[in-house]
């Protein structure tokens, strides 16, 4: 025990920081951006980052609370269905029920929170496995969304709102305005997960539920709150999605849950819970977005893009246990 303790702290802080999965993903992101800037024609245009951010904003938003859910060792597969439901609600409430836009958006976010609380209640208080619960609600929420609007689409939204979704911070620049609300939410999420006692509890639950319980963490309430947050933020992503495309459809964001989860895992969050930090998933989302963007500019088809992202994800997930084992063997050899 003492030697192990000694070994970990034998490394200076900057080296320990460099050793993390998160850093590796950020390095990969930087490498892709540098390579694409140099080798992919048109990648260096300001439009590239602009479109990249517009495309990945829903993923970035959902990745924040979903990371916390996964750190507790749970999963939420219903996020994309909540995006779809929220999109439909905004459309129906605004265009059919005549609500003002802000009220429709707020109602959609509130319904998202309710969706999340159903997930959270079933997982935390009834004790059902989150995989099963959220596979069920994935179908349920998507079903309600498509049932409400059928194959129709609502496309009549106020220009001031749809323009905001596409507005740039600086005219002609490459950063869209939506990054500002995202940055605020990201700062709040970092505070919650990394600097608050609540966040400490989130890790404790993921590492050892029993121990967390006995050390005073309210396991049930923490999980419920995280699912509610995930629902509300997914619904917010749904509002953005609707405005970005100016179209509320029941099948909006179909399959988005797998993209978010892929990015979160790529960003170094352990699917078994207890490990991960928010900058990892954020870099993971951007890495996937940048690879897809560069490959599209190279004229690659969607199949090639999916293959590369799949390989990237599998490689990064496989790398961790393999490298851990290598490190453990080295340590064992040194001790002999």
């Amino acid at each position: 025990m003492t030697t192990l303790h000694f070994r970990v702290h034998a490394r200076p802080a900057w080296r320990r920081w460099l050793l993390t999965r998160e850093t590796a993903v950020i390095a990969a992101l930087a490498a892709v951006l540098l390579y694409a800037n140099a080798a992919v024609s048109n990648f260096d245009s300001p439009l590239t980052l602009y479109y990249l951010f517009l495309d990945v904003t829903p993923l970035l938003l959902i990745a924040l609370p979903l990371t916390m859910v996964i750190v507790t060792g749970e999963i939420d597969l219903s996020v994309a269905s909540v995006v779809g439901l929220s999109s439909v609600l905004v459309g129906v409430l605004y265009a059919h029920a005549g609500m003002p836009m802000w009220a429709a958006a707020l109602t959609a976010v509130a319904v998202g929170a309710v969706c999340g609380s159903l997930n959270g209640y079933l997982v935390a208080y009834v004790g059902l496995p989150s995989l099963a619960v959220t596979i069920g609600t994935l179908a349920l929420y998507r079903g309600i969304a498509i049932g409400l609007l059928g194959t129709e689409a609502v496309t009549d939204f106020p220009d001031s709102w749809t323009d905001f979704a596409k507005m740039r911070i600086v005219e002609g620049g490459s950063l869209p305005m939506v990054l500002i609300p995202f940055a605020v939410l990201a700062a709040a999420a970092v505070w919650l997960l990394h600097w608050s006692p609540f966040g400490r509890g989130v890790y404790d639950i993921g590492l050892n539920r029993e121990a967390a319980h006995f050390s005073g963490v309210n396991v049930e309430r923490t999980k419920l709150l995280l699912f509610v947050l995930t629902g509300a933020v997914s619904a917010l992503a749904g509002v953005y999605f609707t405005l970005r495309y100016g179209s509320a459809r029941g099948d909006n964001a179909y399959g988005l849950e797998l993209q978010v989860i892929a990015a979160v895992l790529l960003g170094g969050v352990s699917i078994f819970g207890g490990r991960g930090a928010l900058h990892g998933p954020i870099a993971g989302v951007l890495l996937i977005g940048a690879v897809a963007s560069a490959m599209r500019l190279e004229g690659q088809t969607v199949n090639a893009i999916n293959i590369v992202i799949g390989v990237l994800l599998v490689a990064s997930v496989v790398a961790t246990p393999v490298l851990n084992r290598v490190a453990a063997e080295r340590a064992a050899r040194k001790q002999k």
């Binding site: 999605f241 190279e298 690659q300 969607v302 590369v308 990237l312």
Partner: protein
């Protein structure tokens, strides 16, 4: 030490990804001639694969480069990144089959603002979002060809019935109305006895066909202006005593109808030819890019394979009469 290994792993994945992205990346070189992006609703769809063949043959004729890209699911949000990419590349024209008439408009406007000509084909957007729409068929042509075919097949006289999609299907109802008018004015000996609805459901269309044949023993022909309906009706007829006695025609796809044409259940049916549609879309885009046309009503341009076309109201270019598929030509098509 762990970091070294890790960076090797990361580097390896990067090499894989960048290597893959680099291979075959020469498509957008476009040194000679204009560069067009061809964006169907989704990839791996036989209908659009056929239209891409036509697009490439037009590209060969014109000396332009046509690059096909597209999402794997036919959703508007999946199409938008490809439209954005075309805008970034500053391609000369974007030829797109829209997954939603309005949701992709913002992206199209940005591409258009960057100087790209926008041509929709097969599925249109709102007219203000594009320069031209290359339409596969118009309602009058679709109605007329079906009545001509059934009249041919039953010898110009007798009872016929229609097997439609759902009772409130906009397209089918418009066609049926035009078919009635066509029958009344030009085919006095043909009597339309009933219109039934299979709701574009295979089993229901199958059952409705059976019911029609029971209720009208004198029935000589069935017209089904929907691909689901005609395939279900053909399946029923092909194993029934009415095979060869009762004619069936309508709108169908060659792959669904091949076996029924081969076994003699169906003599001839119609649809448009997606190969021609892709060809004409690229030709129209080239005419816009070259400045031969502006996309205004009355503009004309000429194609090698299909002849002369005139731009109609709202910037619509009509491919022409629907295409008739029969035993002689059906094996030339795979969609």
């Amino acid at each position: 030490m762990r970091f070294d290994k890790k960076s090797i792993a990361v580097a390896a994945t990067l090499v894989v990804s960048l290597g893959l992205s680099a291979c075959g990346g020469g498509g957008d070189g476009g040194d000679d001639g204009a560069a067009f992006t061809f964006l169907p609703k989704n990839l791996g769809n036989p209908y659009f694969d056929t239209s891409e063949v036509g697009a490439q043959s037009a590209a060969d004729e014109l000396g332009v480069t046509v690059t096909q890209v597209g999402p794997d699911a036919a959703s508007p949000e999946a199409q938008v990144p490809f439209i954005n990419t075309a805008a970034q590349q500053g391609v000369d024209a974007l030829i797109v089959s829209a997954n939603d008439p309005t949701a992709i408009c913002g992206a199209l406007e940005e591409a258009s603002g960057a100087g790209t000509k926008i041509v929709t084909f097969d599925s249109d957007t709102d007219p203000e979002c594009r320069d031209l729409y290359v339409s596969q068929a118009d309602a009058a042509g679709i109605a007329k060809v079906q009545i001509e075919m059934i009249a041919d097949q039953i010898g110009g006289a007798g009872q016929i019935a229609i097997l439609s999609a759902s009772a409130n299907a906009t397209n089918q109802n418009a066609w049926i109305e035009l078919m009635r008018t066509e029958l009344e004015s030009n085919y006095p000996d043909i009597e339309l006895v009933d219109t039934v609805y299979g709701d574009d459901d295979d089993q229901k269309s199958f059952d409705q066909t059976a019911a029609l044949l029971q209720s009208y023993p004198e029935l000589k022909g069935i017209v089904s202006p929907t691909t689901v309906g005609i395939a279900a009706a053909a399946r029923y007829l092909s194993t029934s005593e009415f095979k060869g006695q009762v004619s069936l025609t309508g709108l169908g796809t060659p792959n669904q109808m091949r076996e029924y044409v081969a076994d003699g259940t169906v003599a001839e049916f119609a649809l448009w030819n997606p190969d021609d549609l892709g060809y004409l879309a690229v030709q129209a885009a080239a005419a816009l890019v070259n400045g031969d046309i502006e996309g205004e009503e009355g503009d004309t341009f000429t194609t090698e394979r299909l002849g002369e076309y005139t731009v109609g109201a709202d910037g619509v270019v009509l491919l022409g009469e629907p295409f008739r598929f029969n035993a002689e030509n059906i094996d030339d098509f795979d969609f």
